[in-house]
């Protein structure tokens, strides 16, 4: 184990080699899920419900089957009936019966776009045309598309069999799947004693991860009843687990090959298409491919929940937080599973508060089943808690950073859900924000006709560890083949290789990393939870350390010495008692054949925890008080990254998360129509930031190494989406003098809050 207090004269870590998959990606050669070509391939098209809530009465595929070019049709009845049970798919559990109903309904449709049938045909156009000829009979029901309506007296019940667990009490006929409570101390008493108390209620809307690549899957069901799947996914192994479970087969019957993935952010962890194309392949005898249309990505994949969050916080006369209480109600979509558990872990994380109560509600509504979106639950929670913190800081007349420092959680602080913080960099991040150029610079002159404001907010994500495996093989030319199972969404092939490279003392460019399939790679949990550079990197370090031992064996053969008389340092092996006997890594590699053949090693981890991380963001924006138009003019994200492995990508990842947070705060939302369907199922009206909507995003990477990782790595990817919404709200307040409690803070809402328009 490398001691992280060792000299920081890393040779590879902290550099920016060209990523290993870079050339394929800039030339268009890289094969993403939709690009795969197989002989005899046919295309699937899926029929979806136009109703937000309805009984599915019948599906008549007879007219469609007669169309020239159609090979097979299926309905939900073609998927096996499953028990109502939970399986572990690698980043949590899923109820397999619900997942199957979500993939294709048999009894009820629970959101507009819910799949009810599918057809496979010679090409996509024929498949779409034939799908339109499938006749489906529905009995429409009243729908509810927000948490308030779903929990009102007399609201339509989505899942008749659902038994809610409301803080231990079993409740039938409810849309509240669960209520959890975490409580420490005596918040009610503490609020009575508090000098100042602020209580606010916040609303947020459903948003989508917005990955540019739609979901896709291709499958062959072969003559031995084995299924091969090619897909763009955040984890081939979880796809295998889920697909096998949905089709009620053993995982050994399913092989998943992950192709390149065009963004996921959590949304490409659940499966939607794999069992459908597999079943159509079984029925047609052909490989079948499906690509989700963008409108269906919005309507029928896994967006992030909106909801209602109430936060109440109280301080003593010195500004010390002494009580905090929150109820977090998030919308799960058609089936339970909103990310409220994670929200509960993050909502008060930056603060050391003795008396806390957190109630989390998981509420089903007639919207697509929500999935993870980059720190799921934490951005929503941070919008609420950070806004209240900023209000309290103002009441006390304390600078917002000083207020946070006064109350900062650190190593040993008990988080409000009970976990005790290990080494964390919260204070260091706040100090860096305080010392930053942005925080210390003048606001500057706003654009013509605008007013400018500066805002600040913090955020937290716990990150995860889980399982990863890395296998290394040395080639005789001294290059190293590295096989791992973490699909590469943004340079991790390289950040993983760099860690092994550092251990072995060879350049990162001497690695040949491959993301393997479920039959060639060792088990890996999802690329998600900000775990890949951390956990798979850790596995690579272990594999590299094992490899050194294997190679020392080879030296002992060549030099006829005992293995313990052989040392390894700075990429070279030598005999401790005779420094004349020396091999560089390359030289030794050339000698492998004669000493026993290829040298290989493996490293595995199953990490129970990870280094959680904090971020504090500063934003300047200009608002036009006449129109509500808002432009970000300057942004600085300060974040504890543990140890930077691959700086350009570490920074880039943070910038990307910030920009998603900006979109979430300013313009992104699901508009729901009265009939329960989404109005804006296109990038035209689901407004994500373009290049023209943003300035450069400055990033200050603070390094507070995580002792749980050989190089001190902390997960990086999710923290940056947590602060922006609240930071924008704070900046708007400082610009126009009004606080915002509803996101997105779009122009119409700004005009409304300013009293320029009614409604």
């Amino acid at each position: 184990m490398v001691n992280i207090s060792d000299s920081k004269n890393y040779k590879v870590i902290g550099t920016n080699p060209i990523r290993h998959d870079g050339y394929d990606k800039v030339t268009g050669r890289a094969v993403y899920g939709a690009d795969i070509k197989l002989p005899g391939l046919i295309w699937a098209s899926i029929v979806r419900s136009p109703h937000a809530h309805a009984v599915l009465k019948s599906v008549d595929t007879s007219a469609a089957e007669k169309i020239d070019g159609v090979f097979a049709v299926m309905t939900g009845k073609d998927l096996p009936a499953l028990k109502d049970e939970f399986i572990d798919h690698g980043e949590g559990t899923e109820n397999i019966a619900w997942s199957s109903e979500n993939i294709m309904a048999t009894k009820k449709v629970l959101y507009t776009g819910h799949a009810v049938a599918a057809i496979a045909a010679v090409d996509r156009y024929v498949a779409d045309y034939a799908a339109s000829k499938i006749k489906v009979e529905y009995e429409p029901l009243e729908s509810v598309t927000n948490v308030e309506d779903a929990t009102k007296e007399g609201s339509p019940i989505l899942l008749e069999d659902l038994v809610g667990d409301h803080i231990g009490k079993k409740v039938k006929s409810t849309n509240i799947a669960s209520i959890t409570r975490h409580e420490f101390g005596d918040p009610d008493k503490a609020f009575k004693e508090a000098e100042h108390v602020v209580e606010r209620t916040f609303t947020l809307q459903m948003v989508h991860q917005g990955y540019i690549e739609p979901h896709n899957a291709t499958a062959i069901w072969d003559e031995e009843d084995r299924i091969k799947v090619w897909t763009s996914t955040q984890g081939a192994f979880p796809v295998r687990t889920s697909t096998a479970a949905i089709l009620d087969m053993d995982v050994s019957k399913v092989k998943v090959t992950p192709l390149e993935i065009g963004g996921g952010f959590g949304g490409k962890i659940p499966i939607y298409l794999e069992p459908v194309v597999a079943t159509l392949s079984k029925k047609s005898g052909r490989p079948v491919k499906a690509i989700m249309e963008r409108t269906n990505v919005f309507q029928a994949s896994g967006p992030a929940p909106g909801g209602t969050i109430t936060v109440k916080m109280g301080t003593d006369k010195n500004g010390k937080l002494i009580a905090a209480d929150t109820s977090i109600k998030l919308e799960a979509g058609g089936f339970p599973g909103a990310a409220v558990g994670a929200a509960v872990q993050c909502v008060f994380a930056p603060y050391d508060i003795a008396n806390t109560r957190i109630d989390g509600y998981d509420i089903v509504v007639n919207k697509p089943k929500s999935a993870a979106y980059r720190a799921p639950g934490s951005p929503q929670a941070a919008f609420a808690s950070e806004t209240v913190v900023n209000e309290l800081a103002e009441i006390h007349g304390i600078d917002p950073i000083e207020f946070r420092l006064l109350n900062a959680s650190k190593e040993g602080t008990r988080r409000a859900d009970g976990v005790v913080f290990p080494v964390v960099g919260n204070e260091e991040v706040l100090d860096a924000a305080k010392a930053s150029d942005h925080w210390n610079s003048e606001l500057g002159t706003p654009m013509k006709g605008r007013v400018r404001g500066r805002g600040l907010a913090s955020g937290y994500w716990f990150n995860v560890g889980l399982k990863s495996t890395v296998n290394l093989t040395v080639n005789t030319d001294g290059t190293v083949a590295l096989v791992e199972g973490s699909t590469d969404i943004g340079g991790t092939r390289t950040s993983i290789s760099m860690q092994a490279a550092e251990i072995l003392g060879i350049p990162a460019t001497d690695f040949r990393p491959t993301v393997g399939d479920t039959e060639t790679a060792g088990y890996a949990d999802v690329t998600g939870g900000s775990r890949t550079t951390y956990a798979t990197g850790f596995a690579a370090v272990k594999a590299a350390e094992s490899l050194i031992e294997v190679l020392k064996e080879r030296c002992s053969i060549i030099w006829s010495l005992d293995k313990q008389d052989i040392d390894f340092e700075n990429g070279s092996f030598f005999a401790s008692k005779d420094p004349e006997l020396k091999f560089t890594f390359k030289e030794l590699a050339a000698n492998l054949d004669s000493t026993g053949g290829p040298a290989a090693s493996s490293g595995s981890v199953d990490l129970e925890s990870a280094g959680g991380a904090f971020g504090t963001h500063i934003v300047d924006l200009d608002v036009d008080p006449e129109t509500g138009k808002t432009d970000i003019v300057r942004y600085t994200a300060v974040q504890d990254v543990g140890t930077v492995i691959y700086p350009a990508y570490c920074k880039g990842n943070i910038q990307g998360g910030v920009v998603q947070g900006i979109g979430w705060g300013l313009n992104e939302e699901y508009f729901m129509k009265d009939d329960g369907s989404q109005a804006n199922t296109s990038y035209l009206d689901y407004r994500m930031p373009t290049a023209l909507d943003l300035p450069n995003i400055d990033v200050i990477m603070v390094e507070k190494p995580n002792p749980g990782h050989p190089f001190g790595v902390r997960g990086v990817g999710e923290v940056p989406i947590c602060p922006p919404i609240a930071a924008i709200g704070d900046a708007l307040y400082n610009a126009v003098g009004k606080r915002f409690y509803d996101a997105p803070m779009k122009p119409g809402r700004i005009l409304n809050v300013l009293g320029k328009i009614s409604d």
Binding site: A34, Y211, E213, G263, T690
Partner: protein, 157 residues
């Protein structure tokens, strides 16, 4: 389906190309499925993300909104035509050096779009680059590195 196929004669990345297509097939689908050039990507199919950007007679377009039949007699350029046997186009090299891609799905569209800019305006300002590229969505990078890469390529061309 019922319509008669159309015979299209065109030029793709400098090479003559002929193919048969149904009249309702998009240029994007023809490139990806008939000709086999999968570098141009499908993102939205309604002209809002730019992942399908190709160049027709030197002008960048969303190929999802062009019918394959329309490129009869035209010159089409895709990402696959950017590098030569001598090496990468300066834009491709700059994108790698500046970490202007993370998942890479938007990259072909951005490369072709950026080339469309630099071919006509060799030294654009950052504002101009951002304006030109507003029709290409990226969800991973936040755009800064892409803009830097285009600036770098402009300098190196």
């Amino acid at each position: 389906m019922a319509t008669q196929k159309i015979h299209v004669k065109t030029t793709i990345n400098g090479q003559p190309q002929e193919f048969l297509t149904d009249p309702y097939v998009s240029l994007l689908d023809a490139l990806r499925e008939i000709i086999g050039l999968t570098g141009s990507k499908e993102g939205c199919l309604d002209g809002n993300c730019g992942a399908c950007t190709v160049s027709i007679n030197g002008r960048i377009v969303d190929s999802c909104l062009v019918l394959a039949a329309e490129v009869e007699g035209q010159e089409v350029e895709t990402v696959e035509g950017m590098a030569s046997s001598e090496g990468l186009h300066p834009l491709q090299q700059a994108f790698l050096e500046e970490a202007a891609l993370q998942c890479g799905i938007c990259t072909p569209g951005f490369l072709v779009a950026s080339k469309g800019l630099l071919d006509n305006e060799p030294d654009p300002s950052e504002e101009r680059i951002r304006h030109w590229l507003a029709g290409n969505l990226c969800r991973c990078t936040g755009y800064e590195n892409i803009v830097k890469a285009v600036k770098k390529a402009a300098k190196n061309s």
